[in-house]
């Protein structure tokens, strides 16, 4: 375990030195990056996303597979992306804008360990990265929050909830919709009434 830690720390040190050497080049490419970001944003809007960029979908999928399961919700990946997009869109407060930024960080942070970007890493390598670096107290510990994004997207789709055995309240056999709701006439529909 100690050898792994030393090895991984050396990788980070080497990556930082490399980044320092390449920093002038990175600075020069900033205008290009800006144009690329603008194009990505436009492309995301064209796909119907409020916040996500097309490239972020690969990151979200890679992240979800690494944290949770390779048993993807089948053809529901689009719903996973839509859920995350909706969450980012609805989240208020000054930290709301940080969440999409965090997805970019998730994608590029493996470079710090001399690995490829997250969505280009094989599954086994992604899991190794998580197990070795995304630990509380570690340098990349805060990246462990990426598991919450994975779960938020994966488990908020209806198919995942249903297949787990969860039954929404109005559909449960053991309980009936509240009497008051059923007796109520007019007004806005509640979920219980819709189901009834």
């Amino acid at each position: 375990l100690l050898a792994i830690r030393v090895f991984e720390t050396l990788r980070i040190v080497c990556a930082l030195l490399l980044a320092l050497l390449l920093s002038p080049l990175l600075l020069l490419s900033l205008p290009l990056l800006f144009l690329w970001a603008k194009a990505q944003r436009r492309a995301g809007r064209a796909l119907g996303y409020a916040v996500l960029w097309p490239g972020m979908r690969r990151t979200l999928r890679a992240n979800t597979e690494a944290w949770i399961s390779t048993e993807a919700p089948g053809e529901c990946w689009d719903q996973v992306y839509a859920s995350v997009d909706r969450y980012f869109e609805l989240t208020r407060g000054p930290r709301g804008w940080m969440m999409p930024l965090f997805v970019h960080v998730m994608e590029w942070v493996p470079l710090l360990t001399l690995r490829r970007p997250l969505s280009y890493l094989p599954l086994a390598e992604r899991r190794r990265l998580i197990e070795r670096h995304y630990l509380p107290g570690g340098l990349l510990g805060p990246l462990a929050w990426s598991r919450q994004i994975a779960r938020l997207g994966y488990h908020s789709i209806e198919q995942a909830a249903r297949s787990s055995g969860y039954v929404e309240f109005p559909l449960r056999a053991s309980r009936t919709a509240p009497r008051k709701l059923r007796q109520e006439e007019g007004g806005r529909l509640t979920r219980a009434e819709e189901v009834a």
Partner: protein, 513 residues
């Protein structure tokens, strides 16, 4: 806020509409004051509650339920809507333990037993607090009761502040059936009926102070981005244990003391798997609990997404083996009062990078004594789970630890050897940060609920508690606000509140129309 475009004049401004703010606002309005309540979130009626868990996280919780401590190791959940955290709480009601009341008195927070009891009576009558009906309990509650009794413990059933509860098991997402007697359904409408106004989607930023007197409150209208100055005779901070110190620090009021001595009721969920489907989601989330001198074991089964997000990630992967695993699982927590070692502070780089560090930072690391207490609680909980028929008990750890017999319970000592080894550690009950006491050199708020050195600035929320109370705090915050109204508003509360449960019942029916 760069430009003030509006100015508002009122008698009393209350910042925050949660448990403390709502009660204070009611009594101020009742005393004939013109009251303005400042609230960052929206007023969400039961029928407008978000349709799903994810939407509820994003719209009702502060920072989309992603508020963490600086080290990103603990989640700190707070509400961000009218009614504050009470809208998202399980509204389980505990009175302040006598030992804690005495400890508070030693700091200078005097809460005379008889007067506090009278306050509890009044608050409980408004909230319709009663022991939960048996048919609302989820199936695991009965198993846990049997397990506790077989080990010689006496389980208790929670008292809830509900009316016509349907047992949907989604209390933490806001009550879409209008059954929860939170602040937005009781004290706030009662205050509004007496003339108070609520400014929603308005964030209190900073107080203006001149020679020991607050002369204005600068707010930001979050829908338009415009600045607003509220001028009042008295100012009451009730934004909770993180927001209140944050406003004090931004206003440079007692910066050496504000934000310090923050404590939590902390814990993480411990999951058990039963050999047969138990459908723990079918009933109220919190049914039974077990009191211990140093901690409380509380049944708390979250709705699907919240459950998945609070369990250890390796447990999530078990789904590959049995897709419907959720039906077999349940969770409980060990609510542990922590030492007052936390701190709310403003980041030194906030002026350089304001959009990055606009919010206050929270520094908290679980002390080792509290970790040991927590581990004792988990060991007890594991024994209870196994006695109740559970096949496996899964430790809240980052790597898989499953306990299948009472002999293996001591594995938890090793598995949870350090605070960083506890997965899913968090709190929904931050306290302290503007502690009340009789020492002006140590405390922020004086025994008259006034901030030291500021004649018209009061604090009434969980931030005044000098230590963690160790039980769910909603009822006690409301009761202390009831008691404190004689200092803040200048009038003693009446023996009986006329609106009481009848008002809540009327609200409950109105919400359904």
């Amino acid at each position: 806020v760069t430009q003030i475009t509006r100015e508002l004049r009122t008698d009393c401004v209350v910042v925050g509409s949660g448990a403390g703010g709502a009660v204070t606002a009611y009594y101020a309005a009742r005393a004939g004051h013109q009251v303005t309540i400042i609230e960052r979130g929206r007023w969400v009626r039961p029928e407008d509650m978000p349709p799903g868990e994810m939407e509820a996280f994003a719209t009702l919780y502060k920072d989309g339920a992603a508020q963490m401590n600086s080290a990103v190791t603990m989640a700190l959940l707070q509400g961000s809507c009218v009614g504050g955290s009470t809208v998202l709480a399980n509204v389980v009601c505990f009175r302040l333990p006598e030992t804690v009341r005495q400890a508070y008195a030693s700091f200078g927070l005097e809460l005379p037993r008889s007067e506090l009891d009278a306050s509890y009576e009044r608050v409980e009558s408004v909230l319709n607090v009663h022991e939960t009906r048996e048919e609302l309990l989820n199936p695991v509650a009965f198993k846990l009761e049997r397990g506790m009794r077989s080990l010689g413990f006496e389980p208790k059933r929670f008292r809830h502040a509900v009316q016509d509860c349907v047992g949907c098991g989604e209390c933490n997402l806001g009550c879409r059936y209008g059954a929860k007697m939170d602040a937005s359904r009781t004290w706030l409408p009662m205050a509004v009926e007496r003339g108070a106004e609520v400014l929603t989607q308005t964030e209190a930023v900073q107080l203006e102070v001149t020679r020991g007197r607050v002369t204005g409150l600068i707010c930001r209208d979050l829908s338009s981005g415009e600045g607003l100055r509220v001028v009042a005779d008295r100012y009451v901070l009730s934004g909770g244990a993180i927001n209140t110190p944050e406003i004090l620090l931004r206003s440079r009021i007692l910066p050496q003391r504000a934000g310090r001595r923050m404590s939590l009721n902390s814990g993480a969920m411990m999951v058990a798997e039963y050999p047969e489907p138990v459908d723990a989601f079918d009933g109220i989330q919190m049914g039974v609990y077990l009191e211990h001198e140093r901690y409380t074991i509380e049944q708390l089964h979250n709705p699907y997404l919240s459950f998945c997000m609070s369990q250890p990630i390796w447990l999530d992967r078990l789904r590959d083996q049995r897709p419907d695993h959720y039906r077999y699982l349940t969770s409980c927590g060990v609510l542990t009062p922590t030492e007052s070692v936390g701190r709310v502070f403003l980041h030194p780089l906030r002026k350089l990078l304001p959009s990055l560090f606009q919010r206050a930072e929270i520094k908290f690391r679980l002390p080792d004594t509290d970790r040991r207490t927590m581990v004792d609680g988990y060991k007890q909980l594991a024994r209870i789970y196994l006695a109740s028929g559970a096949k496996h008990v899964y430790a809240p750890t980052h790597h898989r630890v499953a306990i299948s017999s009472p002999d293996e319970v001591n594995m938890l000592d090793e598995a949870l050897h350090d605070a960083s080894a506890i997965a899913g550690l968090g709190s929904a009950h931050p306290q302290g940060g503007a502690a009340l006491g009789d020492d002006p050199r140590r405390d922020v708020v004086g025994p008259d609920y006034r901030v030291y050195g500021h004649e018209n600035l009061y604090v009434m929320d969980a931030s005044i508690f000098p230590t963690s109370m160790g039980v769910n705090p909603m009822l006690t915050i409301m009761a202390v606000a009831d008691y404190a109204s004689q200092f803040i508003v200048g009038e003693r509360p009446p023996a009986v509140i006329e609106e009481g449960p009848a008002f809540a019942a009327r609200q409950s029916c109105a919400a359904l129309s």
